[in-house]
């Protein structure tokens, strides 16, 4: 049963006078439980594709369905709701709320969902424990390393049990060892929770972790292989 269905999408950016054709007809189907890497050189359209799947940006043409919801026609409010309930996010960097502690950051999406505070607390501490940051619960992001911050971001992304976690170059700001530990964590969660992960990268080491590798080039799918 496909979780994400991308049908012949195009994305054009109006950049002053010129039009940038970032995506030129992408077809892609991702099943639940897959651990997919989207690779490709800089400018190939990885970020654009992830942004479209999450409804952060609108397609120029084509259709995207996520968990049977047609994203292309949803309102901004509906899309917020959809992201809150079905999508977890991990960005390249700077994606924790700086004024909140690690635990509060993990609680944040549950707060938005209206989870009662006692339960929020318990779940966030459990989650931090699982990503190996139990002792860091009351630290602010500025007092944590980049790798630790990314693990908090992963904890925040999965604590609400989303259908899919989208990660845009989650390891790009980390050294290779910290990066591979983060990927180990994501892969473990993928296995334990049967949670779907889609992440972008241009790091060959990261691609090795994936169970499916989609290569983009100039806004098109160049290759798509399951391992």
């Amino acid at each position: 049963m496909p979780l994400i269905e991308v049908e012949n999408i195009h994305k054009e950016y109006e950049d002053g006078k010129t039009t940038v054709h970032a995506l030129r007809g992408i077809d892609l189907t991702i099943d639940a439980g897959e651990f997919t890497a989207i690779a490709g050189p800089s400018g190939s359209g990885k970020t654009t594709l992830l942004n479209l799947i999450s409804g952060l940006d609108a397609v120029s043409a084509g259709n995207i369905t996520l968990d049977s919801v047609d994203i292309s026609s949803a309102s901004a409010r509906k899309l917020s709701q959809l992201r809150l309930e079905k999508i977890g996010f991990v960005f390249q960097a700077y994606n924790l709320v700086p004024v909140l502690t690690a635990r509060e950051n993990v609680e944040f999406t549950m707060l938005l969902q209206g989870v009662p505070s006692g339960e929020r607390r318990k779940r966030s501490l459990d989650m931090l424990e699982r990503v190996g940051l139990g002792e860091y619960a009351d630290r602010k992001p500025t007092a944590m390393s980049g790798g630790q911050q990314q693990r908090v971001a992963v904890a925040r992304a999965i604590v609400t049990h989303p259908r899919v976690v989208l990660a845009d170059e989650p390891t790009a700001n980390l050294d290779s060892e910290t990066g591979s530990r983060l990927l180990d964590l994501m892969k473990r969660l993928n296995a334990e929770e049967d949670m779907t992960f889609v992440f972008s990268t241009h790091d060959p080491m990261v691609m090795d972790y994936s169970t499916r590798l989609v290569r983009l080039h100039d806004g098109k799918v160049k290759s798509d292989e399951r391992k």
């Binding site: 952060l56 709320v97 700086p98 909140l100 938005l112």
Partner: protein, 410 residues
């Protein structure tokens, strides 16, 4: 960890800027509280001065005497009425008067004059007449021919203390009212019209000359505080009615001197406009810091949107932040402003107007600022409304950011 707490932490993020913003709000609030208190205080002083000078907080008159002041519309039974008034709560003193108009002559010169028949002893308690004598002495209880004359009128007449003047007017029954008076003293009220026309004499002398047969024009009443005026007016009205004085009307000073109340209202509303403009200027500064705080966090708003925070949620969060900061500023400013006002509430502030200005406009150089809920409500209200207005822009802007563009912002 709710929205208010997150907003609170965001305020602590750039402490310097937050403190500066709160200070700007506090400053505006302090200035407003102080100047408004000063303004209200000057009104209170002005009212007190006019009330004390002559009019009294309220007057009892014959129904229909006001505003034509026809001397024939007299009150009778003043002794009984004075007895009732003297025993009414908040009444400090009461004095009966007869108000007549006459020509006053000395030698070959003649001028129009306002003739006031007074009871010297009672008048002392109600008005400042006894305190404004520049030459000679106050009216004597027994010497019924004595008179106090405005110093300008005396100069115009060429008369001095001890001289005999003649007045000529029309009595209540249409007969001629004429008599002689001996100038006992000169008065200087600082109110040009009074100094140019006033003649104060014994009430019996004036009653007799104007054929009033014991009738009077008004009873001026001084209260311990003008704030009790409305209730005292009501009390006196019913007390006088109950004792059979059906033709007596009780008028507060605003009814007798409507000009003063109107000019106070006008001055107050133009003050409000000026203050609003002032706060608007401060508001632009505040808007700027709100906007700076917003600009620094565009990327973060993108993250929040990606996490699924709804536009309305972001709007509320940013708005609450601005308002929290404003509230702190308002609190600090109100307290500071109030403390300054309280410091000067009793001693007053000397503005050192010249004597001429005081005489011309009846200004008192010392103003006592006065704190009141009215002042606090207006000061807080103006600052709050303007802050709430300028806070709208960044809040709406944050809510309507396009998520992708916000995320690309570094």
């Amino acid at each position: 960890m709710d929205i208010v707490r997150i907003a609170w932490r965001n305020i602590g993020r750039n402490k310097r800027r937050s403190v500066l913003t709160a200070l700007a709000v506090a400053f505006a609030c302090t200035v407003l509280v102080f100047s408004m208190a000063l303004q209200r205080g000057s009104y209170a002083d002005m009212i007190r001065n006019t009330v004390h000078a002559h009019t009294g907080n309220l007057q009892v008159q014959r129904t229909g005497y006001w505003p034509d002041r026809d001397i024939a519309r007299k009150l009778t039974g003043s002794a009984a009425m004075l007895n009732i008034i003297d025993h009414t709560e908040h009444v400090v003193a009461a004095a009966p008067r007869v108000n007549g108009a006459a020509l006053v002559s000395y030698g070959h010169r003649t001028f129009g004059a306002a003739l006031f028949g007074t009871d010297p002893e009672r008048e002392k308690g109600v008005s400042t007449l006894a305190d404004v004598i520049t030459e000679g002495s106050y009216l004597d209880k027994t010497d019924v021919n004595g008179a106090l004359v405005g110093y300008v009128l005396a100069k115009n007449l060429g008369a001095e203390v001890g001289d005999e003047i003649v007045f000529l007017g029309q009595g209540a029954d249409g007969s001629i009212a004429a008599s002689t008076l001996i100038i006992k003293g000169l008065i200087k009220r600082g109110v040009a019209e009074m100094d140019r026309t006033a003649v104060f004499a014994h009430i019996e002398t004036i009653q007799e000359a104007f054929s009033l047969y014991g009738g009077i024009s008004e009873i001026a009443v001084l209260l311990d505080d003008d704030k009790y005026r409305p209730e005292t007016v009501r009390q006196l009205e019913s007390a006088l009615r109950d004792s059979g004085h059906d033709d007596a009307a009780v008028l507060g000073w605003p009814a007798i001197m409507p000009g003063i109340e109107q000019s106070i209202k006008l001055d107050w509303s133009s003050g409000i406009i000026i203050y609003s403009v002032l706060v608007l200027v401060v508001g632009f500064g505040i808007a700027n810091t709100f906007l700076m705080a917003f600009m620094e966090r565009i990327h973060e708003f993108g993250v929040l949107k990606a996490l699924g925070m709804r536009p309305a949620g972001i709007c509320v969060m940013v708005y609450v932040e601005s308002l929290l900061l404003t509230a702190i500023g308002i609190l600090a400013g109100t307290v500071t402003g109030s403390l300054i006002v309280l410091r000067f509430q009793h001693t007053g502030i000397d503005f050192g107007y010249s004597d001429e200005m005081m005489a011309e406009y009846g200004l008192d150089p010392i103003i006592h600022p006065q704190l009141s809920t009215l002042v606090l409500a207006w000061a807080v209200g103006i600052v709050l409304v303007i802050a709430m207005l300028v806070a709208i822009y960044p809040a709406v802007k944050a809510a309507t950011l396009k998520p992708v563009e916000a995320l690309r912002h570094r």
